[in-house]
């Protein structure tokens, strides 16, 4: 017999579905909103971090996005999922921040985790006879972030949501409020730009 305390309870915020959590949070239930924050904090933080390449800015903006979302919950009609709506707020807030900051950026990069050197894609990348192997992953990380920061915000957003976060074109179109064709063309252009900026790392030796 399982411990009742360990069984998910649909009356407790931990066991609730997203829609129920949103409904409770709209009524001012902070415990329910706490659960929503915990569900999405890593993804929202990561998206903002990849857009800004700065841990401190990402921390502030992610918190601001969650606070803003809580205050605006009453205007959330449920036309899209809460997740998409939250992403919209976070992305718009980040783009607005980056526009105000203009091109004055300061890298504050997070460390690579221990799995980076065991990632099959990265292993494949460094196992080729490319300059990457000599430069090391840390150098590539820095160059990659600098190249990303050269992209315009809409292009950076698309390439991060798709190639880093793994979202579909349709999801990105909904978040960005544009059509799928625009997402595809922005993605292609962004990749071309990145490829140009990282040419010395990308071409086979």
């Amino acid at each position: 017999m399982s411990d009742p305390a360990m069984t998910p309870d649909s009356n407790q915020p931990e066991g609730m579905l997203e829609g129920d959590l949103v409904r409770h949070a709209r009524r001012g239930d902070l415990a329910a909103y706490d659960q929503l924050v915990k569900r999405y904090q890593e993804r929202i933080y990561a998206t903002i971090y990849h857009m800004t390449a700065n841990h401190e800015d990402a921390n502030d903006l992610a918190q601001d996005a969650f606070i803003k979302a809580y205050q605006a919950l009453k205007t959330f009609k449920g036309g899209s999922s809460f997740y998409t709506w939250l992403y919209r707020i976070a992305v718009n807030k980040t783009i607005n921040f980056l526009k105000q900051r203009k091109n004055k950026y300061h890298l504050s990069l997070n460390d690579l985790d221990f799995n980076a050197e065991n990632d099959p894609d990265l292993v494949a990348l460094v196992s080729h006879k490319t300059p990457v192997r000599d430069a090391g992953l840390s150098e590539l990380q820095k160059k990659l972030n600098e190249a990303l920061l050269k992209l315009s915000e809409p292009h950076r957003m698309v390439v991060i949501l798709h190639d880093v976060q793994g979202m579909s074109h349709e999801e990105i179109a909904e978040i960005a409020g544009c059509n799928v064709g625009t997402v595809r063309s922005r993605l292609f252009y962004a990749r071309q730009q990145l490829q140009g900026d990282l040419a010395e790392y990308m071409k086979p030796a």
Partner: protein, 172 residues
Amino acid sequence: MNKSENNNFETLKQALKLKRHEIPPPGYFNNFSSDVLDRIRAGESGGRESFAERLQTQAPWLIDFIRLFETKPGLIGAFAISACLVLVFGIVLAERPDAAPQDFMATAGGAANNQAATETVALTDPVLTPAGDSAGGIVASTNPVVSLQPATGLFGQQNPLFQSASFAPVGH
């Protein structure tokens, strides 16, 4: 060309996966949600927000409407043409001269019918026309200055601008 380009994109995509391994300091998310809730309890706002951000959260339909123009440029033309048509229609309607004068003529015609005895219409000199014919009434005239002039003033004196109209049907 395509093959090498695709290969390069594959390499790029592999390199971009490196970003997934950038992680915040250990334990960073332990206090994240409690920090957010503390700020909510303290009544903090979610930072300064631009007009566009406010619109995004409070009137997303308006943003979608504007973005519709971005994605379908033909709609801009259609919208502009409709706006111009409405404007032109409004101007034409406003400049139509018949609406108010028609009402006035109807009123004047009613007054004339009340004085059925006078069936002659002729522009006469005010001096020759007895004031009593239409004393106190409003007289129709093609002269805009006198059209709303009463036949007599407040104290019974004759209005010099008053012109009486009489009508004599042909054959009578």
